[in-house]
């Protein structure tokens, strides 16, 4: 165990009275903004709720890792989604640690497509969906996608080689070929196939969700955060949970209140605040920051803070074979089929989805393959474990105003603060897409001899998006094209909650691209004296 786990401050101390850029969260968004600003010489305070786990701290054991890394603070759920029954206090499976959920991510890095920035235009007025075109498009983001792929080290991009096929991919890709899919490969994927950027090649050790002991997988905990600290401009405070953002008489942000490890309250003065606590904590923090000028929550004059919560339309399919597979060996998600990632309503739904290889170890297979199940129908799934191949269906879900994060003042967290409640109902489009994905996955696996398949319902969400969305007009969303709040100068949202719509792609690459672009904008505006 590293001593660093209990350490609370890293890097160069910044005085609490110095008006710094204060970044809340150190994951894909916050960690990236911190590095991009500090390398330009701009002092940043990073407030991270969790510890800085080092590679040797990571547990290659599913429950031990879950209990070490997962965000387990109390949360509540409501709505018709099955999570309210199976995991009522665990709507999302994300991380509380330096590096945030990049320590947990698998690594798939597809880009959003052009039409996915314009869903209101392409999908039309879908009943119950609060669709909106993004204020930016693919062309504007493309150069930042290039930078993000270089930062992450995506395979198959910019001359980097592909990862080799593991056993789960062999089943997946052969099935894809036999049903006529063409757009399959082992990436793009954010884990090194060969040494890159000072980190080694994958040793195919099979643990991705649990932090990567080898550091072959990119995360902000192994790249952006240590580099930010090395600039001498970053004051990283671990075990520090932001609880309120304050503003001055003119309405400009001026500070952040946060709790240290012992629960003592501190105030850090701020010139700019970047909120990057993931799509449940970020709106929660804005709602907890209500003031006389912002009675419904900070930056919430549109009423959209916390709304349009998206979690991707997902489902897993586990297929059983007569022969051995050993799906858990090797890179968990180094296998992508992109043929269904398109907009074609003749399939019965708008938007598209990816198929991606996925495996769980025995402990999580038991917990998640069919929550609540028991008896022979359950144990035969486990008895076939080493003859099982798995995939994840992950596609765009519809933003709905009623799917939202609110403060549940009837329940308190360990600090005595109101917990976030996450309300979610599937949109009919989500249901149709999931069902299509299950059927296509069945066909794919049957084409290579599956003797049975099981449709696993969505897990607690790893992709949480949209609760502080970007919009051209202030009345339609929370932040503008740069992620700055429409109604609070100096307040930025830097995580996936700024996404106007969720697209089909795994979101990390896009969060990083948006963060690189946002940091460049902040640095430019600070240089001009306009921020």
């Amino acid at each position: 165990m590293s001593d660093q786990r209990n350490q609370e401050r890293f890097g160069a101390a910044i005085d609490h009275d110095e008006e710094a850029v204060v970044i809340i969260g150190s994951g894909a968004g916050g960690g990236t903004v911190a590095y991009e600003l500090t390398r330009r010489g701009i002092p940043c305070v990073v407030l991270e709720a969790g510890a800085w786990l080092q590679p040797e701290d990571y547990e290659n054991d599913e429950w031990a890792a879950f209990n070490q890394m997962a965000w387990l603070d109390n949360r509540t759920t409501s709505g018709t989604w099955r999570i309210t029954k199976d995991f009522p206090n665990l709507p999302a499976w994300i991380v509380k640690a330096v590096g945030g959920s990049t320590t947990h991510w698998s690594g798939a890095t597809p880009r959003f497509k052009e039409y996915e920035f314009k869903t209101r235009t392409y999908y039309g007025d879908l009943d119950g969906a609060n669709l909106l075109d993004w204020p930016i498009d693919l062309a504007e983001l493309a150069p930042y996608y290039d930078l993000a792929e270089q930062a992450i080290g995506s395979t198959h991009r910019h001359g980097r080689p592909a990862l080799p096929a593991n056993n789960n991919y062999k089943v997946f890709a052969n099935g894809a070929e036999r049903v006529g899919y063409k757009h399959y490969a082992t990436g793009p994927y954010g884990t090194n196939a060969e040494p890159y950027d000072g980190r080694p090649a994958s040793v195919q050790d099979g643990f991705n969700f649990q932090g990567d002991k080898s550091t072959a997988k990119w995360s902000t905990a192994v790249r952006e955060v240590p580099r930010a600290v090395a600039t001498g401009k970053c004051d990283l405070r671990a075990h520090s949970q932001a609880v309120q953002i304050t503003h001055d008489k003119q309405g400009k942000v001026d500070g952040v209140l946060y709790l240290d490890k012992a629960g003592a309250l501190h105030r850090q003065k701020a010139r700019i605040v970047c909120v990057a606590g993931n799509s449940i904590e970020s709106p929660r923090l804005l709602l907890m920051s209500a003031s006389a000028q912002h009675p419904d929550g900070l930056a919430n004059s549109s009423g959209q803070v916390g709304r349009n919560y998206m979690r991707h339309t997902t489902g897993s399919v586990y297929a059983r074979f007569d022969e051995k597979v050993h799906m858990y060996r090797g890179e968990t998600m180094a296998g992508i089929v992109a043929d269904e990632a398109r907009h074609d309503t003749s399939r019965g739904f708008a938007g598209g989805y990816y198929m991606e290889t996925l495996s769980l170890g025995v402990p999580f297979m038991a917990a998640f393959v069919e929550p609540g199940s028991w008896g022979r129908e359950f144990t035969e799934l486990l008895d076939a474990y080493d003859r099982t191949a798995g995939m994840w269906v992950v596609g765009e879900d519809m933003p709905q105003e009623t799917n939202r994060v609110t403060l549940n003042t009837g329940a308190k967290d360990q600090w005595g603060l109101p917990v976030p409640n996450v309300h979610f109902d599937d949109h009919p489009n989500d249901v149709a897409m999931r069902e299509h994905g299950y059927q296509r996955a069945d066909l794919l696996y049957e084409a290579v001899g599956a003797v049975g398949t099981h449709h696993t319902p969505p897990y607690p969400a790893t992709h949480n998006l949209g609760t502080n969305r970007m919009s051209e007009r202030p009345e339609d969303g929370v932040v503008d094209r740069w992620g700055q709040a429409h109604d609070v100068p100096g307040l930025f949202v830097s995580d996936g909650s700024q996404m106007t719509t969720g697209a089909a792609a795994n979101p990390t690459l896009t969060i990083v691209a948006l963060a690189i672009r946002q940091a460049e904008h902040i640095a430019d505006e600070m240089g001009k004296g306009s921020l």
Binding site: E114, Y122, A173, H183, Y184, A185, E323, D339, R342, L382
Partner: protein
């Protein structure tokens, strides 16, 4: 001499192991994993009076129903009828995270767990030989992915850029 308390009077473990075997029937499993799982459940009772009361009474009444773990189907049929009973829900909730976290169970099911200290799975991650080796590069043939179907192009969009 005072009367023994009910929980001292009865060893719950044999009945609990029978219940676990019936609820999670794995023909290949010996008793060891189920016994360890039962120990974990019983240990949790020390801090949970409600579950202790529910489980003691539940197991007691289950014995009266004569749970036959030699006949999986009959046992499961009987248990389906008490599926929502508090004690049985509690037993399953602990069992599903305990039984399958047992390393003997991992071995029985063919799961090897951590590999990093052994250099990863470099020797075996691609040992599947009953299918041909597939392409790992992205497709570079003539069939472009049509991102938006012709019939879904918005008015004014005539090309599928």
């Amino acid at each position: 001499m005072p009367d023994p308390t009910p929980n001292d009077a009865k060893d719950l473990k044999p009945a609990l192991v029978r219940l676990l075997r019936a609820a999670f029937p794995h023909p290949s499993f010996p008793d060891g994993p189920f016994e360890r799982c039962a120990d974990k459940i019983l240990a949790e009772l020390d801090e949970d009076l409600w579950h202790r009361l529910a489980l003691e009474h539940g197991l007691d009444t289950l014995e009266q129903l004569d749970l036959d773990t030699e006949d999986d189907e009959a046992a499961e049929k009987l248990l389906r009828e008490i599926e929502d009973a508090e004690f049985f829900v509690f037993v399953r909730s602990v069992a599903v995270t305990t039984l399958y976290d047992d390393h003997e169970v991992w071995e029985l099911l063919g799961y090897e767990g951590a590999s990093f200290d052994k250099g990863g799975y470099l020797e075996t991650f691609n040992d599947l030989d009953w299918l041909p080796d597939p392409r790992i590069e992205e497709y570079d043939g003539p069939d472009r992915l049509v991102e938006v179907a012709e019939h879904d192009l918005p008015a004014g969009h005539t090309t599928n850029a």
